[in-house]
Structure formats: structure tokens, C-alpha cells
Symmetry: C2
Subunit: 206 residues, 2 copies
């Protein structure tokens, strides 16, 4: 499978193996795996240990619950995410519970938790595809998400199936080689757009 990262510097195998597929088969994700995924998210870092993340989650084995979460995705994402084994919405509490002041980094910390979940999934042979393409108003209405909280993302988790299941643009996306900026394009040092001193001039990317 050619979608693994081809890092310019050694990185942990579970980071290199991660990518976001569109072709999920309908194989269920077990409750045991799901619990470990959210347990991994649980131990993420957060500002003042606020743990601002909330998830609304359903296994595909629980068809009614799964379809309810699925209905909160935009149509283009429903098309492929319906074959995932686990769907979740990522929600944040926008203020600190200790003083009700705005938590400027709540969305960032949801990202930390989601990355932990993804790492655990990869270790279990599962794939994760995160989405920003959701219908937050539908989610708020269907799940009674209270004020002070924002529905931010969706997360599909499941097993891969061959690309041949896909057609058209999704198949093209699935088979396009992965690309990333070079380190010197995003790791700066003394000034903006000036690579950090430890980044060799042509270490990474082309």
C-alpha cells in the first residue's frame, strides 16, 4: 500500500502508517476497540486539564444510533462514511468550567484528543478519517447540544477495503500520492519564512 508516509527523517512507524482513507468496508468495530480509542483520547493534554472535548459516538452495529450521527455529516461525507464501523462527532466546551472564561485553545485540545484516538486506532489496525464537513445545527438539534458548546468535527473509524469499491473523484483522491510541505516551509527560526537553524537547507520535501 503506497499511501504510507515517506518521511525524510525517521518517525515512529504508527505515525507513518496513518492516513485518511475513503474506502471503508462494513466490518464492525468492536466495543472493546471503541473503548480503548476514547480511553486514549481521555489521556490527552489540555489547558488547565479542562478536557474540553466531548464526543457523540455510535457503532455501526447500533444502526439507529449510527444513522443519527451519520445524518449530521454533509452529503459528500455520508457517501463514504456510511461504511465506517464507528462514527463520532467532536464537540468542545468553549469556556473553562472553573471560571466560565473563554477557553481560547479548546478546539486545539480537541485536536490533541482526536490525535490520541487516531494513534490508538492505528495501533489496532483501524483507520481514521476526520471531517470538518458536518452540519453543526442538525447535530445540536438532534443531540440537544447545550449552549457554551460547539460541534466542531466528525471522526470515522473503520477497516480499509480495496479502492475498487470507490468510483469517480473519491477513487482518484484515494489513489493520489500524499504530499506535504517541506520542513523549511513551516519550521521557522529567527524570522518568519526563515527556516529554523537546525533545519538543513534541503532536508525535506522537494
Amino acid at each position: 500500500m503506497s499511501k504510507h508516509a515517506r518521511p525524510d527523517r525517521p518517525i515512529h512507524d504508527l505515525l507513518a502508517r496513518r492516513w485518511s482513507p475513503y474506502a471503508f468496508d462494513d466490518r464492525p468495530v468492536s466495543a472493546e476497540d471503541a473503548l480503548s480509542l476514547f480511553e486514549a483520547a481521555r489521556w490527552a493534554a489540555s489547558s488547565y486539564n479542562e478536557q474540553p472535548w466531548r464526543f457523540i459516538a455510535a457503532l455501526r452495529t447500533d444502526a439507529a444510533a449510527f444513522d443519527k450521527v451519520l445524518s449530521c455529516l454533509v452529503e459528500a461525507n455520508r457517501q463514504w462514511a456510511q461504511h465506517a464501523g464507528l462514527l463520532a462527532l467532536g464537540v468542545i466546551r468553549t469556556t473553562f468550567s472553573r471560571n466560565d472564561k473563554p477557553n481560547r485553545v479548546a478546539l486545539h485540545d480537541l485536536g490533541l484528543a482526536a490525535a490520541n484516538l487516531t494513534f490508538e486506532a492505528t495501533a489496532r489496525g483501524l483507520y481514521v478519517h476526520q471531517m470538518a464537513g458536518i452540519d453543526p445545527d442538525a447535530a445540536r438539534r438532534l443531540f440537544h447540544v447545550p449552549e457554551g458548546h460547539e460541534v466542531a468535527t466528525a471522526i470515522a473509524v473503520g477497516y480499509r477495503t480495496p479502492d475498487s469499491r470507490l468510483s469517480g473523484e473519491l477513487r482518484e483522491r484515494e489513489t493520489t500520492p500524499r504530499a506535504r510541505k517541506a520542513l523549511r516551509e513551516f519550521v521557522f527560526g529567527d524570522d518568519w519564512n526563515e527556516p529554523a537553524a537546525f533545519v538543513p537547507a534541503r532536508v525535506s520535501g522537494t
Copy 2:
């Protein structure tokens, strides 16, 4: 060391080992490690593969550059972060480069990249402590961060030293047992505040 996570469900050892110390010794982080840390960040997922993250980074072996980044932290963080081996500011581009529309999840995706960096650090025996307590205006001025970008976080990376280096409140924080919400408090199912069907009533936390 009792600060490792005590998960209720099995999670990968590198996730359980991660925590955010205050007691760093002055041991340098090698350029080789630093490059792999940012390489790990590089391969994170992002909405439309925008890769909205930018880092302004310095090794402590490069004293002038290190002090410049350090000066962008709030005083309370400078106190302990000055002993880290690597300091970085986390910056986001707030719009998509392909169409200049707002990227609602840029901050989330910085979190995904920072978590990848953290995971790689843990695999290398390094510890990461992220901060929201920064002076974004100072950072913008000193590093000429352009419009359309926001300085969001800081990241300290280094080697641990015994707690005895710390005093007062920091020492207390360093030695307090870690706590997390129970799964049923943040993984919901059919409705808000109602645990997901696959979460046993008392699986997690107390």
C-alpha cells in the same frame, strides 16, 4: 514515576507514558531529534491537506534564538520552560491557501500536528509540555508574523529532572496525581449527557 496514566482500558504504552512535566533539566535536545519531531508533525492530517500549522522553533544550544522564543511566554511559564531543550511557538494560518476562505479547524489541526510531535518525542525519551500562556503580540512583533496568521500555543520539549529542582506551587503540581473525567462524562450516545451505548455504566474513573 507515578505520573504515568492509569488507564481503565488498554492503550498504547507511548500514550500512557506521556505527561506534561515542569521539571526539565538543561540537557540539550539534538538537531536530529528536533527534525524527527517536526517531521512527525508534518505528516498529521488536516482539512483539505491545508497543513495550517507553522512553528517558530529554537534549540537551547542556540542561546539567542532560544531566548527570543522564551521571551514570548508569560512569566510564569518562562520560569520552568527556560530549562527545556527545545522551545517552539505554534502558529496557524487562519484561511485556506487555495481560496482565502476561513479555515474553521486550523486550530484543531495544529493540535493534531502537536500531538504527533508529542508522540514522537515520547518515543525518543523526551517530554513535552504545551502552553496557552504566551504573549502573542510580542511573538508577532519579534518574528514578523504576517496578517492572516495567529500565534496560538507554545511547546517545550526536553528531558526530565527530579522534582526536587522545583519549589512551591510548581512542585505541588508536578507531584499531584493525574485525574481525568470518566468516559461516561464525555462520550455520549443517543442524547447529550447520556453515555454512548458501548460505554459500560462504570467502566472508567470514579
